[in-house]
């Protein structure tokens, strides 16, 4: 039962949230210009990090906002929560 902090609503129970997988994966601006391999990379080939992982959540039973978080995937400890469009803490991964 994770405890997750919606950047708007504050701490809420995991049951109110949806998970969106890895964060900061941008949809190619011009899909036609990417190869099949690059398209596959965008669609399927995430980083699946062990350790601090930037991921997306949506407060689906609350304000319905998507936001990002940094969580250690081994301890499940959240290191940060930040809104869409905000810079991830901690720089490049």
């Amino acid at each position: 039962m994770l405890h997750i902090k919606c950047p708007w609503c504050g701490w809420r129970d995991e049951s109110e949230f949806g998970y969106g997988g890895e964060a900061h994966i941008e949809r190619p601006k011009d899909p036609d210009s990417v190869s099949d391999a690059e398209w596959a990379d965008y669609l399927f080939f995430g980083s699946n990090r062990r350790g601090d992982f930037r991921e997306r959540w949506v407060h689906s039973a609350g304000c319905r906002r998507w936001f990002n978080a940094v969580r250690d995937t081994t301890t499940y400890e959240f290191k940060a929560f930040y809104r869409m469009g905000e810079e991830p803490p901690g720089g490049e991964q």
Binding site: L2, D36, A37, G46, S47, N48, R50, T73, T74, Y76
Partner: protein
Amino acid sequence: MRKYSIFSLARNALSHHENWWQAWRSPEPKKRYDAVIIGGGGHGLSTAYYLAKEHGMTNIAVIEKGWLGGGNTGRNTTIIRSNYLWTASAGIYEKGLKLWEGITQEVNFNMMLSQRGVLNLGHNLQDMRTIERRVNANRLNGVDGVVLNAQQVKEMVPIINTSETNTRFPVLGSSYQPRGGIARHDALAWGMARACDDLGIDVIQQCEVTGIRREDGQVTGVDTTKGFIETNKVGAVTAGNSGVIADMAGIRLPVQSRPLQALVSEPIKPVIDTVVMSGAVHVYISQSDKGELVIGAGVDKYNGYGQKGSISVIEEQLAALVELYPIVSRLRLLRHWAGCVDVCPDASPLLTKTPVDGLYFNCGWGTGGWKATLGSGWCFAHTIANDEPHPLNEAFSMKRFETGAVIDEHGAAGVAH
């Protein structure tokens, strides 16, 4: 290999079991192997076993960071079946099931394969269409199976609630694969380790692979906590940790690692003689030979390597269980745990070459690879030995995510165990 039998037991009983030989050695790694298998789970061990047995490669090592079978092999609900929808899946899972049927005798270790049959329930009209479609495909693919109606389900599973009114999602029917069943999880790891050892394979525990060395796009060896090991062929069979290994080789995989939980009840006298799975109501159950109910459901929604999941998943799973089998309400949960499974977007595995020469991946089995352990090892051994997939695993390449020829087993089974 010195045989296990009732006679060897009796003989050893006379000497108070003081003279039992080791099931496998605990060797130190050699400098070089013809192939290194990373991961001492069922898939890794059977890969090594078939490499030796079918392809004559015996100078190989299985490297396990913890204890043999301590990954998902040692924490799964042991359901075995081969009634998958797509032809490619049916091929490899059925191969696996056939190998299961002979493995106890083949390696002289009782895997306790119990072919008590597997039911996959349908709770709405669409479930029933899907079941019908899958069973028909199974029959034509040479996989046994029938469709049962609710009454037949009730006869087979007397404790199930088949009321049409007193439940939110009534049981409308089920698929049934008679040859499906369960087997003993630990026995597989140990039996295969013993068989590997007997073929001269080094099974090395408490040794973690920490790096994969490459030169000109070709594997040259692995770094481990017990030193560098030279080899030109590396088979990564590390389930939930596959992404981590891929990182070491500088490649990415289309897998995400998620917690998958299971639980057991206290042991009780037999109440259920078969395996029953339900996708829509999200729970599955069998009863072990020791008497505990072994119960599972779907993966947690987030990535996690912690071998822990969220208790809410267990709560939902048990609500589904009580809804379906009202008599379990007063029984008690003894222990729950989790594994870390690697899930592919299409819920089908990868048995594949990679952009790095000599590096092969066997992963992505997600929530359902136990049953495939032997089939997977068999195909993967072929792939490693020949640097070429076997027709049975050709479709399970990484390329499919590029071409779009995915093998989507999601809709087909609800829960892909």
